[in-house]
Amino acid sequence: MPVTTYREALRSAMAEEMERDESVVLIGEDIGVYGGTHLVTDGLLERFGPKRVIDTPISEGGFTGAAIGMAMMGMRPIVEMMTWNFSFQAADQIIQNAAKIHYFSGGQASVPLVIRGPNGGGVQLSAQHTHSLEGFYGHFPGLKVVSPVTPHDAKGMMIAAIRDPNPVIFLEAGALYGTKGEVPEGEYTVPFGQARIAREGTDVTLIAYGRQVNLLLRVAERLANEEKIEAEVIDLRSIRPFDEKTIVESVKKTNRAVVVQEQWRWFSVASEVAAILQEQAFDYLDAPVERVSGAEVPAPYARNLEQAAFPSEQQVIEAVRRVTYRARGA
C-alpha cells in the first residue's frame, strides 16, 4: 500500500471527490493562490480553477453562511477553517443554521457541508489559538463530528464526510499533517460511528481520539515493557455519532478505563465516555473511570506551561496505576 502524509491523504480525498462530483467545491481563506496555510489544498486551484477553489476574505461568518446556502442548493462545499479557533466567528452559522435547518424545515432542506481544518494545540499558540472543540461541536444535535488521527482514516473519513447529506465538523490533527501512514489508492470510506481498536490488550482500556491516540500507543508500549500491563487502545475517530459498543465491549474485557483528551474536562467527551461506561458496564468496572484532560485554564504561551497544561505520558501512566491499583505507595 502506498505511504502518504496525513496532509496528502486529505488532499487526495478532496481531489478525487472533486473529479467524481462537480458539486464539490472548496472555500476558505488563502486556500488557492497561497496554497493553503497548512498546504492541504496545495495545487488544487491550478487543477480545478477559481470557481471551485474559492479564496475568501477574512469573513468566517460570511463565507461559512454562504457555504450553507450553497449546500442547501445541492452543492457540496468543503469549508476550510484556517484553524478551528476562527470558527467561533462562524459558530452562529454552524450552530443556528447548519445544524438545524434540516430539522426545522421538516426535512425539506438539507445541508451537505464539510467544515475542516486543524484543531488542538501544542505549538505555543497561546490562549486564543488553542482549542480542542470536539465537546463543543459534539454538543449540538444535527452536526456530525469526527477527528481522525491516521492518514488512512483521514482520507476515508473525508470521503465519507463529503458524501454525507449532513454538516460534518471535520477536526484534523493540526500537529500531524506531516505524519505518514499507509493509504489505499482510490476511493474508500471509513464510516462514522465506528471506533478503531488501535492496539489490543487485556488489562486496561485507554480511550482517546486525535493526536492523543499516539500518546496512548506510546504509553501502552511503556506499560507493556515496564509494568507488564497490556493496555487496549481505542481510537474513537467519530465523536458524533458515537460508537458506544466498542468501548463497552472492551471494558467488559479489561474492567478498567482511562480516557485521555486535550480539551478541558468539564462537559467534555471524556465525561460522556465515563457516563456511558457507568451506565452500560457498571457491573464490569473494577475501578472508577479516570479522565486525563487539559488543565482548566486558557492555554498559556510559555513552553513549560503549555506542556504542563496538556496530558502527558506520565499522567496517563499514573491514572493506569490507579485503576489497576498499582499506584505507588498504595
Binding site: 493562490v33 476574505p57 467561533f88 466567528q89 505555543q124 486564543q128 504561551y301 510559555a302 506551561l305
Partner: protein, 365 residues
Amino acid sequence: MATTRGSAKKRRADGPGDTNPDGVPVLERRDTEKLVGYYRQMVIIRLFEEASQRAFRQGKVGGYLHVYIGQEAVATGFLDAHRPGDKVITAYRDHAHALLLGSTPREVMAELFGKATGLVKGKGGSMHLFDVKNDMMGGYGIVGGHIPLGVGMAYALRYQGTDNIVQLYLGDGAINNGAFHEAANLAGLWGRDGMNPCLFIVENNQYGMGTSVERATAMTDLARKFDSYGIEHEKVDGMDLEAVMECAHRVAARVRETGKPYAVEAITYRIAPHGAADFLERYRTKEEVRKWRERDPIGLLERKLIDYGVEEERLEAIRAEAKEVVDDAVRFADESPEPPLEELYTDVYAEESVDASREASAARR
C-alpha cells in the same frame, strides 16, 4: 540601561505651544531633534523585529510571530499624538506599539521567549502584549475581534468624563470581517452624541496573509468604507514619518475635541513575510517587495535627516546604540527563568477588581 521609555515620556510632554489659532496642535516648525529621537526608536523596532525572527528560527520563540518590518512609521507617527490616559489597542502585530508606549525591549523580548520576566509573565506571547499602566490595552489574535473592544473603550473614556481617546489599529484584512462593520456602525452612531472618541487607524500593508486588498474586496478604497457609518476619514502616506505625525496630531485633536470617531488609512507595506514561519511567498513578486523597499520608512527618514543637516556619523552611532539595546534585550530574555509551574493556574479569574486604568483616570480628575 537604555530603553525606549525615556523618549516615550518626552514625546508625551507636548506643551501648549504646539497649537495653531484654532487650538489644533501642529508641528509648527520642524523639530529635527524629535525626528532623530524617532529615528532611534524606529531603528530599535527594526532591530528588535529582526532579532525576534532570528530567535524564532533558533526555536527560542514559539507560536506565531508577526513582525512590523516596513510599517514602523505608522505606529511611531500616530503614537506621537498619544497622551497619557489615551488607550491603544491592536491585533497581533503588536511589538512596536508596546515598545513605543514604553514597554521595555527587555520585557517584550522576554515575553516572546516565554519567560517569567515577560510583559505578561510568559502567558500570552507575541500576539498578546498588554501593558495597561502604559495604556497598551492589548494585542489580539483573532482578526477583527479587538475592534468592538476599542469602540467600547472609547465610550468608556467619555462616560468616565475624560478627554482621552482610543487609537484603534486594524489591518486591511480585518476590515472585511463582520466585527469591523458592527463596531464601526456603533462608533458612528455613538459619535453623534460625542460619545466615541475612537481614532481608527487602518494599517493597509496591502495584504492579509497571502490575499491582496484587490483580491479581498471589490471596494478597494478602504478609507471610504467608513462612509457607510458616518465616520469621516482620510489617507496618509504610512511610509513617511513626518506625514504621519502631521496627520496624527491633527486628527487626534479633532477626535479629542468632538468625541466623534475618525478614520485614517495609512498606506504602508509589510516588507517581512506575514509570519516568521512563512517562507513561500507565491502571492507577491520579489520585484514588488523591492520597489516598496525603496520607500522603506527608515531609509526615507534617514535621507531626510541627512537633508536636514544631521550627520551620518550621528545616525551611525544611533544604530550602534540601538543594536546594543536589542542585544541586551535578547540576552536578558535568554537568561531569564521560565515561569514557575504554579503560574499555569493563576489569572484565570480576577480576585478583586484590579482596574489600573480606571484608577488612573480617577486620579487625573
